[in-house]
Amino acid sequence: MIPNGAEVFKLSRLSIAWLSIIFGIVWAVCWSIGVGLPMLLEGQFGERVTLINEILKAVTPIVAILVFIPINAMFMVLIERRALAIFTVRKGPNRVGPDGNLQTMADAVKLLLKEDITPTGADAFMFTLAPILFFAPSIFGSLPLLAAVTNNHDLFKILNLPTGIFYILASASLPVVALVMAGWSSNNKYSLVGGLRSAAQAISYEIPLVFSLITVCLMAGTLDVVKIAQQQAGGILNWNILGGGALAGLNQFFAAIISGQGADKALAAFYPYGGLSYVAALVLVPCVFMSFCLYLTSACAEINRIPFDLPEAESELVSGYNTEYSGIKFAIFFLAEFTNLFVVASITTVMFLGGGDNPIPPYLLDKFTPFPQMIAALRETPLVKDLHLINPETLFATFWVIAKVYSLVFFAILIRGTLPRFRIDQLMNFGWKRLIPLSLIIFVLVVFARGFVISHG
């Protein structure tokens, strides 16, 4: 049995409580700014406030993210400490609040009240700019993802760009500069080495990262994250992790069997070249799964998670680039690291795990569950009809997104508890001699195999 089952129970209770608090707050903020306040204003003043309402709706995603990030980071720090305590069979935080659940709040208050020191000889302007430049891209870069996970909801489609994934990648590559800047400006050799290490590491691991995402974009035929998320709707066989849509024909085949008509036609429509197409699909499935693993690995390196956290290796460099930081600047670095982890998990969810899609295909779901009737009944209630309090289309999608993203976060924590840190030459060898050739091979295979299969018909 599990040696410390009580701790596991505490962890799961804590996650459920915290998640409901987080998303309750975010949902309340979104509703009150994006729906409630405009409705109230329009009821009071009529047509004159249209512009204000448009502005309110436009700032909703940014406000939602700004509210979401601090409480989410607090939750993630707490759950990480608790989970690590479970993996190493010891007690986690247990002093502050009930079961130590308020530990991160106390930490946050401590960090905000600490003195903000700029070391002697430091470049003060760059020293202040570095945390901001580190933090800002994770806010602006995650806006298209919001549109993608809510299936292009009205409030969140402000930054639904046609070059969505490219935008996300571009803004995800900016924090590296901030790390070098922090390392250089703090006038400390450990910081400088940490910053330079992060630069070398990020440049090396960005290539397999981009290649693994390009593989998915190649299968989807678009760069738009909303379209990529929409294409994967309809069950686990349609998700990009299983062949990037190569199994969509199989999905249609099962649907046809269950409905009892035209099973062979469905297969022929998606695999037009007979045996060659089946071989291509068999090649595509492991290739795209490998690129999923590649993405997770290189994203871990990109955001300096633990097997790759050489920029802040405590045992060699004191704390790397944030050695000299204290107070609110350190808090921003800390916040941004956990936000980056969350953003990476969201990108993985949207690009590989189907966004807000249900793993059970709709043809099975319609048979066994009363969900459609439930949603229809929900749509008739005054809460939805008059107040738009709940969006029945995105209700279940939200649950699935939360489940997928936090499972990935938990997976990252598991890896942190399991693997030791790389050495710098091992890291470089692994990146340049293993990951980059592997990603190139996968890319070429996908390019050739893609022509034989009609994906996401």
Partner: protein, 217 residues
């Protein structure tokens, strides 16, 4: 609403003029900062801002793909390479500009010509700007097509790159590969005939960096 809200917002005429002047003010300030800052590494960091504002101009010109490529290639990759090169070479050894002779007895015209001679580059660049401006400006000088920009730009660019311009595209990729290998070969410190050396440029760089730390700091 058109196909994409950001482009629609940015293509409003008033918005475009205001954004243009705000961004150009930023670009000019940061550009002067790059050329003028005494600490060379800081001017390397300011370069990120210049490239970022130019990416903003690309967004204004509704070239999203190029804007993202600008941020990814220029503002991150090239700037990082420049900054690391600045840290590896020792910028503190750079001599200050020689002090200008302070001769008050010269007549005004002679003083003027002396300053001209000293600031020859400034004059040449100012002259080139004026020439370019005279050549550029004026109404109806360019055949401005009043058409809206193509809707699926990425598709247009991709198709053109793989069909009409495929040979230059291949050549540019070969050029990049050759430049990569050439840069590694040039920057490598060991003699070339050493049999068991490994092309670990980044590691070499970090090692050299650690050696240089005592000098730079």
């Amino acid at each position: 609403m058109s196909y994409d809200n950001l482009t629609a917002l940015l293509s409003l005429p008033v918005m475009e003029t205001w954004m243009f002047y705000v961004l150009s003010a930023l670009a000019i300030c940061l550009g002067v900062g790059v050329l003028h800052d005494r600490v060379v590494i800081r001017s390397g960091f300011i370069l990120i801002g210049v490239f970022g504002t130019i990416a903003g101009f690309f967004l204004l010109l509704s070239a999203q793909f190029l804007a993202m490529a600008q941020i990814m290639i220029y503002a991150v990759a090239i700037t990082l390479v420049v900054v690391i090169a600045l840290m590896l070479t020792n910028p503190r050894l750079e001599a200050e500009r020689t002090a200008e002779p302070d001769d008050d007895n010269m007549p005004a015209m002679a003083k003027f010509f002396a300053s001209c001679k000293r600031n020859m580059t400034l004059w040449i660049s100012a002259f080139s700007f004026i020439t370019l401006y005279v050549a550029i400006s004026g109404e109806n000088r360019w055949p401005v097509a009043g058409l809206p920009v193509a809707k699926d730009q990425v598709k247009v660019i991709g198709e053109a790159l793989t069909t009409t311009y495929s040979i230059p595209f291949e050549f540019s990729s070969v050029l990049l590969l050759a430049a990569l290998m050439g840069a590694i070969m040039i920057a490598k410190n060991e003699p070339l005939h050493d049999p068991d050396e490994e092309p670990k440029k980044a590691i070499e760089d970090s090692k050299t960096q650690e050696n240089n730390l005592a000098l730079t700091r």
